[in-house]
Every structure is written in structure tokens, then in C-alpha cells.
């Protein structure tokens, strides 16, 4: 089966995504071989669903986005692998958050990854996964200048051997 990439996208949005080619300056291949066996690897998850920990973290800044519709909060959150579904909140103005709040695993499958670790399919999960809010300014300036580097430093600190990224 070949996925229809535009099945759930409003028709008027399609030209915003289709046929635009590479991001400027990001044409060349990038490749890091996955060196270890999965059963000896520590994996990280990264969701762009605007997830954060209600009790201890600030929300993504939706007020500023309301005032400046081309802007999206470029910061990131470290999500403890031990966070329970009821600890999670969602700040994202471009999706309905009902299903995400009912079951955050649909964006950040921390329980499923733990289960695979218990079964020995993967070596383990990082202690802290990563969340961003995926609606960003089109040039990704702050992500490029700041956020990406911070996330890489976090992933290195967590000894991540690989990352599974999931856009919302």
C-alpha cells in the first residue's frame, strides 16, 4: 500500500506542501548509519504535537501566535518517560487535541516503547523524550539557530542511539 499523503489535508492547503522540493540549503543527503543491534540500543521519541507536562512546564506560547499568525513557539520540552497520560497537556492550535489528551501514546508512544524494551526488542528508552510544537515560521530560523542544537545536546546527554520523530 502506498500512502496518500494528502488524504486528510484540506484541498486548499495542498499547494503549501506539494512540489516545493528541498528546504533551502538542505538538498544534500545526510546519513548516520544505525550501528548497533536494536536490542542493544537506547531509543528516543520526538513529537511535534505541542505536548508538555502540566504541573512543571510552561505551555507553548499560543497567545503570541494568536497575535502573530505566522509565528509558532520554537521552544522544546523534555518529557520524562515516566509521565502518565494524566500528566500531559497539549498546546497546538492546528489540531483537535481531544484524542491526544485521551491517549498521548498516539503521538508519543512511551508505554509501547517501554513494552518493547521489557521484551528485549530494544535495549531501552531514554529517560526523557522530546516534544516541540510543530507549527513554525516557514524559514525555521529559531529551530535552526537554537532549538535543534539544544535537542541534539539533550539526546547525546541521554545516550540516544536513534530517534523516532513524529509530526502531529
Amino acid at each position: 500500500m502506498l500512502v496518500d499523503s494528502y488524504k486528510f489535508l484540506p484541498r486548499s492547503f495542498r499547494p503549501l506542501y506539494e512540489g516545493r522540493g528541498a528546504f533551502p540549503g538542505e538538498e544534500a543527503p545526510v546519513w548516520t548509519p544505525f550501528a548497533k543491534r536494536l536490542s542493544e540500543s537506547r531509543l528516543a521519541l520526538l513529537s511535534s504535537a505541542g505536548i508538555y507536562v502540566k504541573a512543571s512546564q510552561p505551555t507553548f506560547d499560543l497567545d503570541r501566535e494568536q497575535e502573530h499568525p505566522e509565528w509558532g513557539d520554537p521552544t522544546w520540552r523534555s518529557i520524562p518517560a515516566t509521565a502518565r497520560p494524566e500528566d500531559i497537556a497539549v498546546a497546538h492550535l492546528h489540531i483537535n487535541d481531544e484524542d491526544l489528551l485521551a491517549d498521548p501514546e498516539i503521538a508519543l508512544p512511551m508505554r509501547a516503547l517501554d513494552e518493547l524494551a521489557r521484551e528485549g526488542v530494544v535495549g531501552g528508552a531514554v529517560a526523557n523524550h522530546v516534544a516541540v510544537m510543530g507549527y513554525q515560521d516557514r524559514r525555521l530560523e529559531d529551530w535552526h539557530a537554537t532549538t535543534a542544537g539544544e535537542i541534539v545536546a539533550h539526546l547525546r546527554n541521554e545516550d540516544a542511539d536513534g530517534v523516532i520523530l513524529a509530526p502531529a
Binding site: M1, V3, S5, Y6, K7, F8, P10, Y17, G19, R20, A22, F23, E26, A28, P29, V30, W31, T32, F34, R37, L38, S41, L43, A49, E65, Q66, P69, L93, H94, I95, N96, D97, D99, L100, A102, D103, E105, I106, A107, P109, A112, L113, E115, L116, V122, V132, Y135, L140, W143, A148, I151, V152, L155, G162, V163, I164, L165, A166, P167, A168
Partner: protein
């Protein structure tokens, strides 16, 4: 998200992107791609459907660890169990996002 994956990959950490728009991830040159025909906000599947979520995650792990070449794309052969029109409505926010509101206002001004 594909561009963020490229920056992480370039820093030496292998990545896979699980996405409902795999054709766009290919255009943006993400290193490894898993396509899912799921509504936005549901990269790993239906809420509380552990089997579907696990199947998606397992494919992502296989592609992450097993892909041999740049821009490998494998699509998940799972159909969304909700009728398309219903699912299309359900994923969208109850209130249009600020940018959509702005575009709609611009369009309505243009047509008057």
C-alpha cells in the same frame, strides 16, 4: 519535522520520521521515512488501540535500524478504521488556527 530530522541526523544520531505526509518528507529529504495514512495528530494510530500503535512503532524501529540508503521510505499497510469524511472533520481544531483565520479573512476581503 523532516528538516529537524536532517539536523539531528547530521549531528550523528540516526533518525526516522513517522508521517502522514511521506511524499513531503521525501521532498524535504528526510533520511528515513515511515508513511502512515492516518489523520493529523495520530502518527501512531487510534487512541487506546495498543495493537495498531505497536505495529506502527515496530515498523519505525525496523526502518530506523534496517534502512540501507538515504531517503528510504516504507509505508504502513493499515487503513484508518473511521470513514474518511468523519476522520477529516475530527482531526481539525474546533476553532480555525490563527493563520487559517487570517487567510480566510484575506480571501473574503478579496472577493468583495
Amino acid at each position: 519535522m523532516p528538516v529537524l530530522a536532517r539536523w539531528i541526523e547530521a549531528a550523528g544520531i540516526p533518525t526516522v520520521v513517522v508521517t502522514m505526509m511521506p511524499a513531503v518528507a521525501e521532498e524535504r529529504r528526510a533520511p528515513r521515512i515511515v508513511g502512515v495514512e492516518f489523520p493529523f495528530g495520530h502518527a501512531f494510530g487510534m487512541p487506546h488501540d495498543r495493537a495498531m500503535q505497536r505495529r506502527t512503532l515496530e515498523l519505525a524501529l525496523r526502518v530506523l535500524a534496517g534502512a540501507e540508503t538515504f531517503r528510504t521510505r516504507i509505508d504502513l499497510d493499515v487503513e484508518w478504521p473511521v470513514p474518511v469524511r468523519e476522520a477529516y472533520r475530527a482531526w481539525q481544531p474546533k476553532v480555525p488556527s490563527p493563520i487559517v483565520r487570517k487567510l480566510l479573512e484575506t480571501r473574503s476581503r478579496g472577493s468583495t
